[in-house]
Symmetry: D2
């Protein structure tokens, strides 16, 4: 089974706006939290990837907002991989409050080096990403 | 000609991340700045709309990232309306650095009241939005 | 013994800046996380206080920055009460990475109603705050 | 006369919180905008200082909150230098809405190199900072 990580978010006051709900840009931040946890889970913390010159800036993002979320809500960000290519990876996310879908989204990332030149995803990382999709990866904590 | 407003953004240090470029969620904030300017331009400042119980939370957003932007960059957010329905409006944005396209995006908003119930866009506002698309609105400052 | 709550923070990419470290304003956000946990701990979640018209906007803040913190750092925000008056409360914070002090700070808050008029801290809340300082409160989880 | 720069801020929706006012951490961001403008005004844009390995992380900050500010408010951040030492500089700020004082604050910054080692403020920059305080600098735009 494909890996799906779960990251807990407790909504901060700073993340609300004067409509009384979470400001929409914060969901992109929480998706980043989901990605960070996913990569750590398969053994490649993003901070160590960057140290080795493997960067994944976003080239595309899309978000659907289904319900508002509120201060002190406990949310779960479910993260999985939607597609994987030699130079690109697309993550998919669902932000849940219990059984309610709050937001869904996708972000596509391209692999670049320190000079922002596109490059292939390094073989070891690619293999781990592939294994996490195929369900052959080490997925238990 | 359809209205297209231009909002100036000077990139703040706070908006950068450790990759040395603007963090991706900030573009959604700048699109909000573009929307605010567009609505003020056609005579309906969003703060006064809200006072009257006319809210426009986002229900969809999509962004394409073409180039990074940097601290102290002077950018222009070009905002126009992509489509208009009785209860929904979709804004389109291009974030430019001179002639370079940095980011493009769309956000769709649904008209709701204080209780977050969907409602029709009020007639006067609808007319002004329509006129701004048709190019019959008062568009000069 | 006076209550001191501990809140875990994992540094987000969004919270870093191009210097490669956490941007300084984020510490005020984490102090808010610490306050939220402190108030929940003594049985007065801030969201429910607000529902009852008991608001605590900040009137003063001070921060000392001792060391930088970095992406993916696991930090602890230690929160306690520095002083308590009939209308004001001052929280103290230490942000720690293991045994290292990263940042210390204080924020003072004044009790107001929905119309931002200063008022006395309600008796039950005042008692709970007092008990948490005196160490007579229910402090174990 | 000592230099005092004025930076215009238009409050963004993103900067408000569910209390309906600007979230307190944003004032530190606007102070950074004020600092950026001050340094540019005396001919040393902070982005070019950084390129030369002259960094000014904050080591202290204090803020007094006098009044709330609101979405779409036009504010002025007045920035000046409070004190200057061989390795440190302290900026002072007043955030104004017309003649009303919204917030005042100070931030102290220490000069470091890329390895975060404390160093002397480079002679040319020190001279320009000093001249801006003494009122002998080129201060007109």
């Amino acid at each position: 089974m494909a890996l799906c990580t779960e990251s807990e978010i407790v909504v901060r006051y700073a993340e609300t706006d004067r409509m009384g709900v979470v400001y929409y840009a914060n969901y992109l931040i929480w998706m980043e939290v989901g990605r960070t946890d996913y990569l750590a889970e398969i053994g490649f913390p993003y901070s160590s990837l960057e140290r080795d010159g493997v960067l994944f800036p976003a080239c595309n993002a899309s978000i659907r907002f289904f319900r508002p979320s509120y201060y002190e809500d406990r949310l779960a960000v479910l993260t999985s991989i939607e597609s994987l290519q030699s130079r690109k990876v697309m993550f998919g996310y669902r932000v849940m409050r219990g059984n309610e879908l709050v937001v869904s989204g996708k972000t596509e990332h391209i692999c670049v080096d320190f000079q922002m030149r596109v490059k292939k995803i390094p073989a070891k990382l690619f293999k781990a990403l592939k294994a996490s999709i195929d369900g052959t990866g080490k997925v238990g904590r």
